[in-house]
Symmetry: C2
Subunit: 333 residues, 2 copies
C-alpha cells in the first residue's frame, strides 16, 4: 500500500507509490547523451568566443602562456537575454487590480570551465572548489545591492532540465522581492522553531544521520541524503552541519568541503544513472534573513527522472515512484 | 525591459521577459504528433479490452446493437496502479520527526471515448458535455466519503505532460488531506476577502472582462482568459461567472456551457498551435470549504511549451517569454 510522507521543512506531503515502485536501476537514463567535443567553435561560452557574451563581471584567470583574453578558468557574465536587469530604483509596485513592478534584478551566467564537454561530475576537485567559491563571491557581491531581496543560484543540466546551451554553466538571479512560496517556507520554519526551539533543517539532518538509511554522504561539514519525503526519485539534499541561514556566510573551509560533497554526489548520479538531467538549486534565506535561527541554507538536486503532471500541478503533492531508502542504498553501493 | 506581474489570486509573481519574448506562432508545437489509429488492439482502454482494466465504478452506455460489454460511451475505472486506495480508516498521522500517513484515497481513470485517436478538441460537443457531466458525477460520488478532503480532476495530454497511455482519458484523485499549497491559496483568498469584501476570482474575472485584451472566450456562464500574470505561454483559465467555490455544485446548465467553453479553448489550442501537450486541472475548494464566499472553482489549462528549470523550482517565480495580451489576441484571430 502507498503511504503519505510529510517533509517537515517544506510541509509538502508526498505520495510514495510503492505499487508503482521502480527499482533504482530502472531510472538509468534511457538515451545516452550526445558525445560533446572538448571545444565547439559555434559555442559562445568556448574560449576564443569571449566577445560573443557581454563583458565579464568576474573572471578567474589561469597563469601561463597564451592570449590573456582566453586565459581563464571561470568567467561570469551577465546573461545576454536577461530575465531581469539592474536598472532603475528599488521596486515600486503600481496598478490597481493588476499589480506590476519593473523587472529590476540581476541575471548572470557562470561559465564553469573552458572545456565544452565537462561538468562538475567530471571536472577535477580543484575546479569544483573554484566554482563553489565563485558562487559565493557572486552571492556576496550581489547581496550588497539594497534593491535585491533574494539571490537564487542554480544549475540546469541537460535539455529536459531546461538548459539551452550545452557548455557547462550555472546561473545567478537576484530578485527584487521575496516570492510568496519562499515566504511560506520561512513561516513554516518559524512555526517549527516556536514549537520545538530548534531549526527544522538542523533537526532533519540529525534525524537523517540517526536513521542512516537515506544518507549518501557525510563529511566534516556536510550531510547528503535523499529526504524521507523526496518529491522525486534520487532527490538529494546537501545540508551544512553548522547552522547557517545564508549561503554567503559559509567559511572558506566549508566551501572546500561543499565542493567535495557536490562533486561526490554529482559523480555518483552521473556514473550510476548514466548522466541524468538535473536541476541544482542553492536554497538560501532572503538577504534580510541571513542571521535567522530558524532557516538553514542547503543545496537541492532534482534529477529529472519523472514528469510532474496535472495532479502535482493541481495539488502540490508529488507522487514518487521510488523509496528514498532504496535509492540511497543504490547510491552507497 | 522585463516586468514583474502579480497574480492576485495565487500571489505568484511572474517575470514577463519581453527581451526574450517570442511571437505567438513561434510556439507552434515543433514535432508533429504521431497519427493514431481509431482503434489499437494493444490499448487497454480500447473497446474489446475492457477486461484489462479494473471493473467500472461508473459507465455511460450507448443504446444500440452489439455486445453490451462494449456498448459504452464513457467508462470510469479505478487506476490499475493507484497512487492511493480507499482502504482503511481516516488518515492517522504517526511518527515522531518523520510523519507518515496511510495512502488512503481514490484514484480513478475516466476513459472519455471508445475512440483511440480522439480528444476533447476533436470530439463532438455532445460527448464533451457527457465528459464534463461524468467529471461532476465522480466528484459528487467521492465527496460523500468522509475520509476524503480534496478531489483533483485532471487531464494530461501528450508525453511531455506526463501521460503514459495515449487513449484519451482524465483522472480523478481524492486526497485524505488538504496539502499546504492549497491551504496557502485559501489563506490568501481569505485575506483578499477581508480587505476587499469580495472574492478575488470574481474580481479577476470582472477586471479581465473590462480589460478585454486577454479574454479568449465569453459565454453566458464562463469567461476564458490568459491571466495577466500567466505562468507560461498560453496558460488559460476558464472561470464560472456565478460565484461558486465547489465544482461539484455547478448546475446542469453550467456543465453544458462548461463543455462548450472547454471544447472551444482546446480546439483553438489544437488548431492554432499544432496539438500541443497540456495539463488541464479542475481547481476546486477542499470539500469542507464548498460554501466559502472567498474561494472560486476554475479550470486551469497549462500547455507544456516551456520547461520550468532551476530558477522556477527554487523561487516559485516563473519566467514567461510571451505576453498574455499577444497570445490571447492570437487565439481570438
Amino acid at each position: 500500500m502507498s503511504e503519505l510522507r510529510l517533509n517537515r521543512a517544506t510541509k509538502e506531503w508526498i505520495v510514495v507509490a510503492t505499487e508503482r515502485a521502480k527499482r533504482p536501476h530502472q531510472f538509468l537514463a534511457k538515451s545516452a547523451k550526445e558525445r560533446l567535443p572538448p571545444f565547439d567553435p559555434a559555442c559562445p561560452f568556448c574560449p576564443g568566443n569571449e566577445s560573443q557574451t557581454p563583458p565579464e563581471v568576474y573572471i578567474l584567470r589561469k597563469k601561463g602562456v597564451g592570449s590573456p583574453k582566453q586565459n581563464w578558468k571561470i568567467r561570469v557574465v551577465t546573461n545576454k537575454y536577461p530575465a531581469l536587469r539592474p536598472r532603475g530604483k528599488a521596486t515600486e509596485i503600481s496598478g490597481e487590480f493588476f499589480k506590476i513592478a519593473p523587472g529590476i534584478g540581476q541575471h548572470e551566467v557562470i561559465i564553469e570551465t573552458p572545456w565544452h564537454n565537462k561538468s562538475i561530475a567530471t571536472l577535477g576537485l580543484k575546479q569544483t572548489e573554484e566554482i563553489c567559491s565563485v558562487y559565493q563571491k557572486r552571492y556576496q557581491a550581489l547581496e550588497k545591492d539594497r534593491r535585491f531581496k533574494l539571490i537564487i543560484i542554480f544549475r540546469n543540466h541537460g535539455a529536459s532540465a531546461g538548459t539551452s546551451l550545452k557548455h557547462p554553466h550555472s546561473q545567478v538571479i537576484a530578485l527584487p522581492l521575496v516570492p510568496s512560496s519562499i515566504r511560506h517556507l520561512l513561516e513554516e520554519a518559524m512555526r517549527y522553531y516556536d514549537d520545538h526551539g530548534s531549526c527544522v533543517f538542523c533537526d532533519m539532518m540529525k534525524e537523517e544521520l540517526l536513521a542512516k538509511s537515506r544518507v549518501v554522504l557525510n563529511n566534516p561539514a556536510f550531510v547528503g541524503f535523499h529526504p524521507f519525503a523526496s518529491r522525486s526519485p534520487f532527490e538529494t539534499w546537501i545540508v551544512p552541519k553548522k547552522h547557517n541561514a545564508c549561503f554567503g556566510n559559509s567559511s572558506p573551509q566549508e566551501i572546500k568541503l561543499l565542493a567535495w560533497a557536490l562533486k561526490a554526489v554529482l559523480k555518483k548520479l552521473h556514473d550510476k544513472l548514466g548522466d541524468p538531467d538535473y536541476n541544482l538549486i542553492v536554497r538560501t534565506a532572503p538577504i534580510k534573513d541571513a542571521q535567522e535561527d530558524y532557516y538553514h541554507w542547503y543545496i537541492q538536486i532534482l534529477p529529472r527522472l519523472s514528469i510532474p503532471a496535472g495532479f502535482e500541478l493541481g495539488s502540490g503533492v508529488y507522487i514518487n515512484t521510488s523509496l528514498p531508502e532504496h535509492t540511497a542504498r543504490f547510491m552507497r553501493e
